[in-house]
């Protein structure tokens, strides 16, 4: 091989984790196959998703090449910008489908809550790293407060799904940082006791979703419709599935949002329990690889951040599949790497890029 080519190849791949990349690409390929069926063979929808994936992979490469030290320095500014943007959304955001989530920045519309999915765990990891070795109970309190600020903004938009996921990603991080067990038990008890108050603070449509989950037949024309139809789709798939492009629930228009939040119903109907097992295995492989990276990460900052990214990915997958199969309320969380949507793909790939950066820069430092 020509030395210039070899050098270019080295620079292109030296911060890429091959194992993780392979798993991500496999999931994306699966996503495109399902997308074709879910969109009734729409070339525009499928190629659009492919374009989203290419953008996301480029972003992943960029983040893989940013060293964790730089990320650590970026954490606080990024978080402050994120909170600032959320404030802007609250003040001048555009209302779409009754929620104020989008910000028009002239060339395009952005959803600052997506930025927070990365910025919130980063700033917490940075904060714990700063106080490494001298962590007191109050530090956990401050961390919880830093998490609560963006979560409150997003909850007010209202976007319960994203808010809960951000709280979860921060929660995992605080847990990994060593939150004492006695506090965890105390908080658990408190949470159980305050459930009724949370209920009264929820929006009508959010309560509706919870009630519908408990009894989907209570509102078969409204919000229960999604759950009833997607459960039928999953159940009728059976062990082997109805075959690609053959899902009746999908192609007879019964599944709502079938290229986005409910794409798993399409997959499950057409590929059955066997397909589900393959998908679970692929997702589990990504999580396992991310956890291995976390376990071997060189500093507290990288350890915490990597652990949180791994767990957040897992939570996404669980919440989405749980919602489609009718064991969790409909909260509007996409299936990672499969559902249509550029913003979600990019924010996931930023996470993978960071994982790769953590894994590869460590080696370079050591040698």
């Amino acid at each position: 091989m020509h030395p210039a080519l070899r050098r270019a190849g080295f620079y292109l791949t030296r911060h890429i984790d091959g194992v993780l990349l392979l798993a991500v690409l496999l999931l994306m390929a699966t996503g495109l196959v399902v997308m074709w069926s879910a969109s009734n063979g729409s070339f525009a929808r499928t190629s659009g998703q492919m374009a989203n994936m290419l953008v996301a992979l480029s972003v992943m490469w960029v983040f893989a090449n940013v060293s964790p030290q730089v990320l650590q320095r970026m954490a606080l500014p990024l978080f402050v910008i994120g909170v600032g943007l959320l404030l802007c959304v609250a003040l001048f955001g555009e209302v779409i489908n009754g929620a104020r989530r989008w910000l028009d920045i002239g060339i395009t519309r952005i959803q600052p809550s997506e930025l927070m999915r990365i910025a919130a765990p980063m700033v917490l990891a940075w904060y714990f790293n700063r106080h490494e070795g001298s962590l007191r109970l109050r530090h956990y309190g401050v961390a919880a407060l830093m998490l609560a600020i963006p979560a409150a903004f997003i909850l007010r938009q209202p976007d319960l799904g994203t808010a809960l996921l951000i709280i979860a990603s921060g929660g995992y991080l605080i847990f990994l940082a060593g939150l004492p067990w006695r506090v965890i038990i105390a908080l658990g008890t408190l949470a159980a006791a305050s459930a009724p108050f949370l209920w009264s603070a929820m929006h009508d449509y959010q309560r509706q979703r919870v009630l519908t989950l408990l009894d989907p037949s209570a509102d078969p024309l409204g919000s229960g419709y999604h759950t009833i139809q997607s459960t039928i789709a999953v159940g009728s798939g059976g062990i082997l599935g109805k075959g690609w492009m053959n899902g009746t629930q999908t192609h007879l228009d019964f599944i709502p949002e079938r290229t986005t939040d409910f794409i798993f119903a399409v997959y499950s109907e057409e590929f059955g329990l066997l397909g589900n097992l393959v998908l679970l295995a692929m997702l589990l492989f990504v999580i396992a690889r991310a956890m291995v990276i976390a376990a071997n990460a060189p500093s507290l900052f990288t350890r915490l951040l990597a652990g949180s990214i791994a767990m957040t990915f897992c939570t996404y997958a669980f919440v989405n599949m749980g919602m489609v199969s009718g064991i969790l309320p409909v909260v509007g969380v996409p299936l990672p790497l499969i559902s249509y949507g550029g913003t979600s793909l990019v924010s996931l790939c930023i996470g993978f890029g960071i994982l790769m950066s953590i894994n590869t820069h460590k080696k370079l430092v050591q040698t």
């Binding site: 159940g235 009728s236 652990g307 669980f318 009718g326």
Partner: protein, 628 residues
């Protein structure tokens, strides 16, 4: 760093212990992940293996379908129970385009057994453009029994065509109530989005129609009712085999109006073939007794989608039948503004009732000659006479003395220049001129000369007949203002429970009773021996009124307005405001007859007919004659 150098051993042990703790917690999370995925696997196993049979029957044979049952729409009746909007059951012939191979051939073939007009075809084509392919669309409505049995015999030849029994909305009073009752129509995409935003869409799954204008629109939430649900088992052909469960729909509520249908009809017909508007209000609770905008249109045309030819005819007509003149048309009030100006003069103590102004037939201001149209100058005029004979000069000088902003501040209280808040949409605010308004509207300062013609209700002044009627009602009611409302109460048809619509006073203008008496006496004088005397000759009740004439085109300096020389559309509008009986008012109104010349001649006789019927029950012998 310093710590590290002082006690390196502890530091390393500490950090190793921390790493150990981190890894054990990561392991715990790993177990947690396995647990979550285990739950998912169990759920999939349960759905796809254990319950697979159940779900595949539902999905593959598409056996259970949830059918919405549309509720009956509430009806609308006048104060005496006369139906203004009701439902009747009839058959329609509907086509589902996605189930039909060749639409044109199918319609041609249908036309051989059932009468299908060119208008039906045009309307169907328009519906087709606006709808999704799998919706079933009506090609013919209101089929006769004979047509139904003929179609039933030939049904096998027409897959995708169904005869359906449906409820139809009908407006038996037609054009007379077109602007106030409004009409329903097929739900469009924009309305779907609004319903979705308000989380009301699921209640419309069985409904094809929604209120589009008038009361049908503004009281949609009351009229629509709650959709019922029927869970049925269907065979592969989509036919219902068995009802599994049923939640019955709840019918919409009925509207009982303040309007009097007979009064409305008399008022509408009193216009003859003139265009115009009339609003009559019961002063105390603010109930609207008549709400006429002429010409109207047949609202029944709109219910199933208007065909393009009829639409073009209505929308393109020079008479603008689709314009709600009573609430959205704005006109200069002309001399009907004078009683309110007189009240302003008394309020600001600028003039006493007895103060006499000399009227030489014109008023000079800044080199401009403001004319009074009459041939012989009036001479000495006091406040009473200024209203009775409608002196322009009296009010030119008064406006000049008051100044535009005090006038605007006073008139604002009567509701001039702002929406009355009546219970139908599409109301105009009109224009109450002031220095602020002119700066906002034209970015120009106000010139004192512009104040002069405001005094006689010309200039920038522009109000809706509804505003003028509401102001007259407020005057009749001694300055206590009610929000005009068309609906008296909403009635739940199951429980017979009545929910009244806001009978509370809006505000009290706190006017001096003595001032009110002066103006009221003058308005009684108008109908006794003033400009309204001819129209009210021989009336057995005492009515207070004021005529007005609103210029449509400006008359040049020194030129005289001669009606016969002006094109019909450029002739002045005739106004009349009135209330009766003068001491205990039961009805107050404003009427405008477009391009009909003097208010005394064209508008006052309409008011007389309305009062005669409302107060005496007298029905006019023949339709009013027109001057043109």
């Amino acid at each position: 760093m310093s710590e590290l150098s002082i006690n390196p051993g502890i530091e390393i042990r500490d950090s190793e212990r921390e790493l150990q703790r981190y890894r054990s917690r990561l392991t715990l999370l790993g177990i947690f992940v396995m647990l979550l995925f285990g739950i998912l696997f169990l759920r999939f196993f349960y759905l796809q293996v254990v319950q697979h049979g159940h779900y595949s029957t539902i999905a593959e044979a598409n056996r259970i379908s949830v059918l919405p049952i549309a509720p009956h729409r509430g009806i609308i009746v006048d104060r005496n129970g006369v139906e203004l909007a009701h439902n009747y059951s009839a058959y329609t012939l509907e086509i589902t385009p996605s189930k039909v191979a060749d639409l044109n051939a199918t319609i041609d073939e249908l036309a051989t057994i059932i009468d299908i007009t060119a208008r039906d075809r045009r309307r169907f084509r328009k519906l087709l453009e606006e709808s999704k392919r799998f919706e079933s669309l009506p090609i013919r409505t209101r089929l006769s029994d004979e047509e139904i049995s003929r179609f039933a015999a030939h049904h096998y030849r027409f897959p995708g065509v169904e005869a359906k029994a449906r409820l139809f909305r009908q407006y038996p009073q037609g054009e007379i109530f077109s602007h106030v009752v409004g009409h329903i129509g097929r739900i469009n995409q924009r309305e779907v989005e609004v319903l979705e935003k308000e989380s009301r869409l699921s209640n419309y799954r069985g409904s094809d129609y929604i209120g589009k204008t008038g009361l049908e629109q503004s009281y949609e939430k009351y009229l629509h009712g709650t959709t019922g649900v029927e869970e049925v088992e269907v065979d592969s052909g989509g036919r219902a085999m068995r009802v599994l469960s049923r939640t019955p729909p709840v019918s919409g509520n009925n509207l009982v109006l303040n309007l009097d249908a007979r009064l409305q009809e008399i008022a509408y017909n009193a216009f003859g073939n003139r265009r115009g508007a009339l609003v009559a209000i019961d002063p105390t609770p603010g109930g609207v007794l008549a709400f006429v905008s002429k010409p109207g249109f047949d609202p029944n045309l709109f219910v199933d989608g208007i065909d393009p030819v009829s639409w073009k005819e209505l929308n393109g007509s020079i008479d603008k039948p689709l314009l709600n003149r009573a609430a959205a048309g704005t006109y200069p009030p002309g001399s009907t503004f004078k009683p309110f100006m007189a009240l302003a003069a008394l309020f600001y103590s600028k003039r006493s009732p007895q103060q006499v102004i000399s009227d030489p037939g014109f008023f000079m201001f800044g080199g401009h000659r403001f004319r009074d149209g009459r041939p012989v100058p009036l001479g000495a005029v006091d406040m009473h006479r200024s209203i009775v004979v409608s002196s322009d000069v009296y009010y030119y000088t008064l406006a000049n003395e008051l100044g535009i902003d005090p006038i605007a501040r006073f008139m604002e209280k009567f509701g001039f220049g702002s929406r009355t808040g009546i219970d139908i949409t599409g109301e105009s605010a009109g224009v109450l001129p002031s220095t602020d308004w002119k700066m906002r509207r034209f970015k120009q300062k106000w010139y004192a000369g512009e104040t002069i013609s405001v005094g006689i209700g010309q200039g920038y002044n522009s109000y809706t007949p509804l505003q003028l009627a509401s102001a007259t009602a407020t005057l009749a009611n001694n300055g206590v203002m009610f929000r005009p409302h068309i609906v008296n109460y909403v009635e739940d048809i199951r429980t017979r429970e009545k929910t009244p619509i806001e009978p509370k006073p809006l505000r009290n203008l706190e006017l001096n009773p003595e001032h009110l008496r002066v103006v009221r006496d003058a308005m009684v004088g108008v109908n006794k021996d003033g400009t309204g005397a001819r129209a009210f000759a021989g009336a057995p009740y005492v009515a207070a009124g004021k005529t007005g004439t609103a210029q449509v085109i400006a008359i040049k300096q020194g030129e005289k307005y001669i009606e016969s020389r002006v094109a019909e559309r450029h002739r002045d509008h005739a106004w009349f405001i009135a209330f009766a009986p003068a001491d205990q008012p039961r009805i107050a109104l404003a009427v405008i007859a477009e391009n009909s010349g003097f208010g005394a001649r064209a508008a006052a006789p309409i008011a007389r007919q309305v009062f005669d019927y409302f107060l005496l029950g007298k029905v006019p012998q023949k339709a009013a004659e027109t001057d043109d």
